[in-house]
């Protein structure tokens, strides 16, 4: 008997509006702006439940077309429900493993115009391996201790800022050392988003100051790699 109210909470359903359908439109492109076709798209909400987000209920699903565009028809939840979307989600059937995933959180906070959420261009970068080339420019005596941080291959865009976590989502990191006898070093970076910005945290030994420096590096199309000089 004590558990009965719990089961009632867990088994509550999402209710839908009569005579209404929502439309989610957008275009999936890669880091160069080229269309990404045939990746899965899904809109979903959360039913009431014991947990803070309840259970996940799918509203609509589909795939991008030849032009990378999607027109996702979905049911319209009645009342105040969170609405999220996932493009090329990691657990979705038909996920393209060569591209990143995007989650869009809190679409219900957007202005709903004509029963449609028009999301425009959504960038899903390719997942690639790349290189970081470290070169001595002016410093010839210090040992460089370097820590490289790349971003996650799944991106989340928070339209509802109250649901945005206060942590930096880093995904991959590597550490390495460049000795005084080494003028140049190359580090392989695996599984990062093409042309994504990376973070380099480094320390120079043999200086009196043990300060840790941080630098953001952009991708160099000229050399086809990332470049760090010290």
């Amino acid at each position: 008997m004590i558990l009965l109210p719990l089961f009632v909470l867990v088994s509550c359903d999402v209710f839908y509006e009569d005579n209404k359908r929502l439309l989610f439109t957008g275009t999936a492109v890669d880091e160069d702006g080229a269309a990404i076709k045939n990746v899965p798209v899904r809109a979903f909400t959360y039913g009431p439940g014991v947990l803070s987000n309840g259970f996940v209920e799918d509203l609509g699903e589909g795939f991008t077309d030849e032009n990378g565009s999607f027109n996702l028809v979905s049911l319209s939840p009645e009342g105040n429900y969170k609405i999220d979307m996932e493009i090329n989600g990691r657990l979705q059937v038909g996920q393209s493993t060569g591209f990143s995933s995007i989650s869009l959180v809190g679409l219900e906070t957007l202005n709903l115009s004509d029963a449609a959420y028009r999301l425009g261009e959504l960038r899903l970068a390719r997942i690639v391996n790349s290189r970081l080339i470290i070169q001595r420019a002016t410093n010839t005596v210090d040992t460089l201790y370097v820590n490289i941080v790349t971003g996650p291959v799944y991106k989340t865009i928070y339209f509802d800022k109250s649901r945005e976590p206060n942590i930096f989502e880093d995904f991959f990191f590597a550490t390495d050392t460049v000795l005084p006898s080494e003028n140049e070093k190359e580090i392989v970076l695996a599984n990062l988003l093409a042309k994504d910005t990376i973070l380099v945290r480094y320390r120079l030994k043999n200086t009196s100051n043990a300060e840790i420096f941080t630098e953001k590096l952009g991708y160099s199309s000229q050399i086809g790699a990332y470049e760090f000089k010290f």
Binding site: F15, L22, L23, V73
Partner: protein, 209 residues
Amino acid sequence: MNSSFRQGFLLVLLTLVLPYFGRAQDVGETDKSPAGGHVEVSLGMAIPRALGNNFLSNAYAIRTGFTGELSLYFNERYFVGYQGIFNASEVRDATLVGLYDRSVIRHHYLIGGYSMLSKKSVFGVTTGIGLGHASYKNKKENTVFFDKGFSLMAHTKVRYRFSKNVGLYVGAQLSNDFLNIETAPEIEEVFKDARIFFVSTGLVFAIGS
């Protein structure tokens, strides 16, 4: 032509041929009942075919259903009454309509029409129109929601009486449901209305004739 439609036409053929072997003796020229009002009740099956470029024809698979009609003849020719049609359907392409599983489609009409032949005749041909309501009861697991709207229909029926009070009929009907489902302009045309062509057949009972 899909298999359910083919079966429907075979059934129509059978209903026209079989009664010749089971015709009672007191029908037709020997029928001496007086002219005037009477009541007819029709019960049968309704074989649907969705028409046009809309959500119903593109995304639903409608199954053969049931139809019932009550016609009140206030003279030999003119009648008013009620018609109900009930069909179950499945959503076969949820990417076009949203993620739900099935729908029960119900039509209710107030009908009015005209019988071209006298009720004394063994054969009867009626035409009629109906104004009414269409209700699509959509089901997603344990949740139910509706698409509803105004509906118009036009039909014609051929009836053969093999006894004084019982006959067989076959009919054709076109129903147009004005649902006006609220949605984005890009897909408004697809959800504005739905059109169904029914072939129906069954028994008709005449009361008071």
